[in-house]
């Protein structure tokens, strides 16, 4: 979802390992498993269910010891019905004088045995069947699924009844029948999970490693099918207990000699004209047992699931923050009359698995001039996306953003609540996302989605909006706009879907466009077109752009100014020409060097060693220190401030003494037949020698040059 959040899910612990710091030697295998149990134990409801189930098992096993009456004993006197407490019967008796408490304890036996029987049958048939048709697919699958379809076309109980007709009534047969019907549910589940697992590359990896079909099935697929299967088994157990009671209630399950809970209800019905009481204890016993299985199953499911919990919508606005005058020097404005000016943005998230907060964006300042393209660059996990989202008050739920101020065109946004901000969203600030196909609602036509802001913000009628959408589609280069307007998102390729998003983002003529990795998901040949489109539309409308990307190559194509972000902080910012020609931060140098260029090879590719550490591992000093080639003693003193250096600002203790390499002039400037860049082709010294305020060679004034 957002870069800074990318690390919060399954890969949460990656950074611990990634940092070159010495590793704790404890076994991670144990750690993962113990985390599962810890999660389960922390779930009080599930634990209560588990405790109750243990009690039921004890009651079932020791039923004869726990009771002083006989399971089936009936008093000789017909129609003796003791109320609870009467004559030493704690829960009273039923209409033939049998002790209800005794029968409840014995009933636990029937419930558990019946449940176990049904679930066992279901698993023994369903798991191999599901595995087989899931793995072999093709004909096996078609025939198998047709069979499942036939069985489930009839309501489960009805099908069980039909099977019972064939097998004869009785508890064992009834549960066998229920088990057979449930086995279809298991089959379907296992098959679906196997299908999903088969698509996983690790299954292909295992096959490529030479694992036999059997081994792939048992070692690679089954363990990953196990969690949903365990959960489903628990829930089916509950269903089986219910089914046993139901069938016994009808008289086609347990017979008169068996004190099953369902049978007790059937008997209770016979005396219902006198009292309902005999129906209450067995009903509650069934109810509690089923609840216990269900909550325990849910607890297992939650403990297995690694993904984060759902967040709320309608929150995400930025809270006001006091300016801490002592900590940071005032930030010099990046432009005389900035359209947007952000000061002191902090964003915190709760640390996964623990309650404590971690800061994922720290004290970010940003100025975007009018009509300017500002690039925010950095590796994934550095906090670019949520910084962009915070400008619109869209920080995803558990996150909390605060800032000293966000001024957009003279208006203070900090302190506005989520609902007030909606006049900013779409109207003043438009946004396009990385995954265009996921960003469009699959249920509606694209035309309708693009028309929505027009209708909400500009109050256009349906027809006006439609006409405007067609114009917008034409502008963003969607062929056949009259027809395509009524198509659904899945009928668009990635590039086309991104054009739709651009049309949507620009529909209300916003002042600022946030483009979050607009080309990353697209094919190379489409990427360029998309960048052209964005820059052309932005320039023709005077829209400012905040371009978020990890690819410095993209930046060079259209940005005026750059802010480089690393591990939640801006580490360098300045004009494109300055930053690219003479980077002032080692991280910028590394990023520039790592851009793949069309050049003849020479030795190893330049890299930045290591990976971005996760937010909770950020040190209290230079965040980049662990990966920095120039780290020295002075880098360890404490937090580093962003300071002017040359024409840029940089957050590096050693920037004054470092000679960092900027973009090297390509040794092959163009391909045979291509127009040579004007200026001094191949001279190699164009950029570093760029005079302050000068115009970059080969560029017409106004493009790529200083604003």
């Amino acid at each position: 979802m957002s870069d800074a959040l990318a690390g919060l899910g399954g890969s949460a612990d990656a950074g611990e390992l990634a940092s070159p710091a010495p590793m704790p030697q404890e076994s991670a295998a144990g750690a993962t498993r113990s985390r599962f149990w810890a999660r389960l134990r922390r779930n009080k409801v599930a634990m209560a269910g588990a405790v109750y189930l243990v009690l039921v098992v004890i009651a079932a096993i020791f039923a004869p010891l726990l009771t002083s009456h006989d399971e089936t004993f009936a008093t000789r006197f017909q129609d003796i019905l003791f109320s609870p407490g009467e004559a030493g019967y704690v829960l009273g008796t039923d209409h033939v004088g049998r002790d209800i408490l005794t029968r409840i304890f014995f009933g636990a036996r029937y419930a558990l045995i019946a449940g176990a029987e049904a679930v066992l049958v279901a698993l023994v048939i369903g798991v191999p069947f599901g595995l087989a048709i899931g793995y072999f697919r093709g004909w096996a699958d078609r025939i198998g699924m047709r069979f499942v379809e036939i069985v489930v076309a009839v309501p489960a109980v009805v099908m069980a009844m039909a099977i019972i007709t064939g097998l004869g009534t009785g508890l064992t047969n009834a549960m066998l029948a229920i088990g057979l019907v449930f086995s279809m549910i298991i089959t379907r589940l296992v098959r679906a999970e196997v299908f999903a697992a088969r698509e996983e590359f690790y299954v292909d990896g295992a096959r490529a490693a030479g694992a036999s079909d059997r081994r792939v099935m048992w070692r690679h697929i089954l363990p990953n099918v196990a969690p949903p299967l365990i959960v489903q088994t628990t829930l089916l157990f509950a269903q089986a207990v219910l089914a046993e009671a139901a069938l016994s209630f009808l008289g086609i399950g347990a017979d008169a000699s068996q004190a099953s809970w369902g049978r007790m209800l059937r008997d209770a019905e016979l005396s219902i004209d006198r009292t309902i009481w005999p129906a209450i204890p067995p009903g509650i016993a069934i109810f509690l047992t089923v609840v216990a299985f269900n909550v325990f199953g849910d607890g297992l499911r939650d403990a297995f699931a690694r993904e984060a919990r759902g967040g709320r919508v309608g929150v995400g606005d930025v809270m006001p923050k006091e300016r801490n005058a002592a900590s940071a020097p005032p930030w010099p404005p990046g432009s005389d009359d900035p359209l947007l000016s952000l000061r002191g943005l902090d964003i915190v998230f709760p640390k996964p698995g623990e309650g404590t907060d971690m800061t994922v964006v720290r004290d970010v300042n940003l100025d975007i001039g009018r009509g300017e393209v500002m690039a925010l660059v950095g590796e994934s996990g550095s906090g670019k996306t949520i910084t962009g989202l915070s400008l619109m008050g869209l920080v995803p739920d558990p996150g909390q953003a605060s800032a000293e101020s966000i001024v957009l065109d003279g208006r203070e946004l900090v302190g506005m609540d989520f609902n007030d901000l909606r006049w900013i969203r779409g109207r003043e600030i438009g946004i396009i996302f990385q995954e265009p196909s996921a960003a469009l609602n699959p249920a509606y036509t694209v035309g309708r989605q693009v028309a929505e802001p027009l209708r909400v913000h500009l109050g256009m009628s349906k027809r006006e909006a439609r006409e405007r959408v067609i114009e917008l589609f034409t502008e963003v280069g969607i062929p056949d706009p009259h027809k395509r307007i009524d198509a659904f998102p899945h009928q668009f390729s990635g590039g086309m879907a991104q054009r739709v998003m651009i049309a949507m983002a620009l529909s209300c003529e916003p002042k600022l466009l946030i483009a979050d990795e607009p080309t990353t998901a697209l094919d190379v040949t489409v990427q360029g077109q998309m960048l052209d489109l964005v820059s052309e539309l932005a320039r023709s409308r005077g829209v400012s752009v905040l371009l978020i990307t990890h690819d410095l190559g993209v930046v060079a194509d259209l940005a005026d100014r750059v802010a480089v972000m690393y591990a939640g902080e801006i580490v360098e910012t300045g004009r494109l020409a300055d930053v690219f020609a003479t980077p002032r931060h080692p991280y910028t140098e590394g990023l520039i060097a790592a851009i793949p260029r069309n050049e003849p090879r020479s030795g190893d590719l330049p890299t930045i060693p290591g990976v971005v550490p996760p937010p909770w591992a950020w040190p209290d000093r230079c965040h980049f220190a662990d990966r920095c080639l120039y780290e020295a003693i002075e880098c360890r003193r404490g937090p580093v401030e962003l300071r002017p250096m040359g024409a840029s600002l940089t957050r590096c203790e050693r920037s004054h003494e470092l000679e960092l390499r900027g973009v090297q002039h390509a040794s092959v400037v163009a391909i045979a037949g291509w127009e040579q860049p004007s200026g001094e082709p191949g001279s190699g010294g164009v950029m570093p020698g760029l005079p302050p305020g000068g115009v970059m060679p080969g560029l017409p004034p106004g493009e790529g040059g200083p604003a």
Partner: protein, 314 residues
């Protein structure tokens, strides 16, 4: 849409045929002689054989099957072995009773379940969510026939607010019909509402995380509109799937509820058929319930296609 409808209907025909085949032969597994059940223990061999010939069960199974199938196709499901009535006629009287119960509770369950599920999702993690989650786990666990008994006793017998059992004469007005339906529907609908609420909650939570919800918010739409326009429709897709399963479960559940409230519906008919090995009645019963499930699933497939343009045929 029409094409989708046609194709689903066509696919249902072999399915029904296979159901009939499966059930027909399954039920034959039982070694008990139906003639003996009908005539009682003291019947002599000769009259038993006569009875068998009369019922046609002395013929080879395949012939019986073929015969049954031929008449079933034209809507004749045979004659009740015990009372000589046409099965088709008997079912015709009972179907409306059961279906009004089933669909009554399904519609109410969809309404209540979706509303609470969505509410819980929007308040995820806070008290409305926790309350609804707990209530739905409890609702899921209540045996419908038990809650039926309790309701019949307290509301029907003690308080006398509503009829505790189905009127012995056919209800003569819509009001009385509805009155008689309320308690059975409540008993039947509780677990369905709970299941739907849970599904609605979890799919809504999933959908609210999706990129397109973020897009909708980024357009400046009010939260209410984002939820009602952009989230609910997508969250409804799994709920619709579940509604299909629930219909099937409700038809199954109606058997027990009918038993409790003495409703002259399909369920009682089916239970009688099983207890007495009444083959034509059982087959008729199974085929009718299967037909209802299949029809409901076709309807759901169509609404599925309406909700999810991706599955519409181009």
């Amino acid at each position: 849409m029409l094409r989708l409808l046609v194709s689903r209907v066509l696919a249902a025909i072999p399915l029904m045929l296979m159901v009939a085949t499966l059930v027909f032969f399954l039920a034959q597994l039982n070694p008990v002689d139906p003639a003996a059940t009908i005539m009682g223990d003291d019947a002599d061999l000769e009259s038993l054989a006569e009875k068998r010939a009369e019922l046609g069960i002395d013929r080879p199974l395949v012939v019986q099957y073929w015969d049954w199938l031929n008449s079933a196709v034209v809507g004749d499901l045979g004659t009740n072995w015990f009372n000589g009535e046409e099965i088709t006629t008997e079912l015709r009287d009972r179907i409306p009773v059961t279906l009004s119960m089933v669909f009554g509770s399904l519609i109410v369950a969809l309404g209540i379940g979706s509303a609470f599920g969505v509410l819980a999702a929007l308040k995820a993690g806070r008290w409305p969510d926790r309350t609804i989650t707990v209530a739905s786990s409890l609702g899921l666990a209540v045996p419908n026939f038990w809650i039926g008994l309790v309701l019949a006793y307290y509301v029907g017998v003690k308080l006398q607010w509503l009829p505790a059992i189905w009127p012995t004469t056919r209800p003569d007005s819509l009001a009385r019909w509805i009155e008689a339906l309320i308690l059975p529907c409540v008993a039947l609908g509780i677990s369905a509402s709970a299941a739907i609420a849970r599904q609605a909650r979890s799919s809504m939570i999933g959908v609210l995380q999706r990129d397109y919800v973020r897009t909708a918010l980024a357009k400046g739409l009010p939260v209410r509109r984002v939820v009602s326009r952009h989230a609910i429709r997508n969250a409804a897709i799994p709920v619709v799937t579940l509604a299909g399963f629930q219909t099937s479960a409700l038809i199954g559940g109606s058997i027990f509820v009918e038993f409790v409230f003495n409703v002259p519906g399909l369920g009682r008919f089916g239970v009688d058929a099983i207890l007495r090995q009444n083959m034509p009645a059982l087959l008729g019963f199974v085929m009718v319930t299967a037909a209802v499930v299949v029809v409901v699933n076709i309807v759901l497939d169509l609404s599925y296609a309406w909700l999810n343009p991706k599955v519409r045929p181009e």
